[in-house]
Symmetry: C2
Subunit: 237 residues, 2 copies
């Protein structure tokens, strides 16, 4: 239950320094997959907590999210000793720790560029708000969309991005425009001081090295499925 991790400093893309027993900070790299699984564990723990479950084992987490128990323990071990041998993990505590590790112990204002159907869906997506994200600005350059109300938010012209981003302290931008505009929007985001970008357009975006960028590709997983269905039905190339 004691936390051995005390200081976390960026070394490379996903490296942390972790305090070991001997008080020496050792550097270790955290696989990106580990961080993603942490999100999944975290949401599973939320569900357990909501159902009044107070203690959980690595095996139960593993069953719940579809990984191996060793994987769960290894993933958590990157960040500290959160469990009690012979007992398991305290749900509330572990949930708190995973949220803290993921940086979700604070509110994150987001800016979305693209107020089309996808942008609209993202704005109204409950999944974001329950995890501490809130949309602080929606932008578009299409005059039919500017001024439109989404929830209690008004779609603003893209030109106002820098100003609003600064005022609202936005560090993360979401690209939900069509492919041909994606790079242009990314450039504006970088110029406006965004430190991280989530790109929903199916194209590779170039940004400076110090900007974190990740893609959510709606089609890739679908094409993985058709690949698998394809080889299932035996076909010649």
């Amino acid at each position: 239950m004691k936390i051995t991790t005390n200081v976390i400093i960026l070394q490379k893309a996903s490296s942390v320094k972790r305090k070991s027993a001997g008080e020496i900070l050792k550097t270790l790299r955290v696989p990106e997959a580990t961080v993603s699984r942490l999100s999944i564990y975290s949401r599973f723990l939320e569900r357990l907590d909501k159902n009044g479950i107070t203690t959980v084992s690595s095996g139960e987490i593993a069953d719940g999210v579809g990984v191996s128990p060793a994987q769960v323990r290894k993933d958590l071990a990157y960040f500290g000793d959160f469990g009690t041998r012979g007992v398991g993990y305290n749900v509330k505590d572990l949930l708190k720790y995973t949220l803290k590790i993921l940086g979700l112990d604070q509110e994150w204002p987001l800016a979305i560029v693209g107020a089309g159907n996808l942008g609209f869906a993202l704005c109204t997506n409950r999944g974001f708000s329950v995890r501490g994200f809130h949309i602080a600005g929606v932008f578009d350059n299409n005059s039919t969309r500017i001024g439109k109300q989404i929830g209690n938010l008004e779609v603003k012209p893209l030109a106002q991005f820098p100003e609003i981003a600064k005022k609202e302290n936005i560090r993360i931008g979401i690209i939900a425009v069509r492919t041909s505009l994606a790079q242009e929007v990314a450039d504006i985001m970088v110029k406006s001081g965004m430190q991280a970008i989530l790109n929903f357009s199916p194209v590779t975006i170039n940004v400076p090295e110090d900007i974190e960028i990740r893609n959510v590709d709606l089609s890739i997983k679908l094409e993985l499925l058709t690949f698998n269905l394809g080889i299932k039905t035996t076909q010649s190339l």
Copy 2:
């Protein structure tokens, strides 16, 4: 330019049998990451082709999508010899091959359950249609949504899923309902003969082993970003 891959048969999740020079079929497993990158290469090739570019090297593909040239060649080598030494790859041909490998040389009818904002965005998503997917059915149980028109498609009650899925030859289902309904919808899809499921709800779904299921999680990548922004600003746990 000659294709050595002749027969592809499912061995495990992503295994193919590939014909080597000696005419012997050897079994090799294809990393899922390779298949995902193939989707990305494929779309990059589409862009090149549209711009009238006829030849491309592994290095140019690598630069275009942000991986190493060796990775590109290795990925393609799982499926055959598509290039010419000293020259590179023929764009049109390689595009055709990648599409074929991904199973995108045919039309894929899809069924979406959930006609909320996300379901609506997916229905109208241009990215699907350009890759050979088309929505053949949209379903919901919310009476305010049933009967609503999305493009030239009408939202049908969930009860009609099995019937329409069969009539339209749908093998892939998309889950775009809220978390609490996701498993229930998955069960209906399995019962209706879906062979693959794409799940947009942030919860782990259980399906029989022979059903392919993949998740698109809108928040995970966002939380990866906050993790990285978190360690960038040095904080104690």
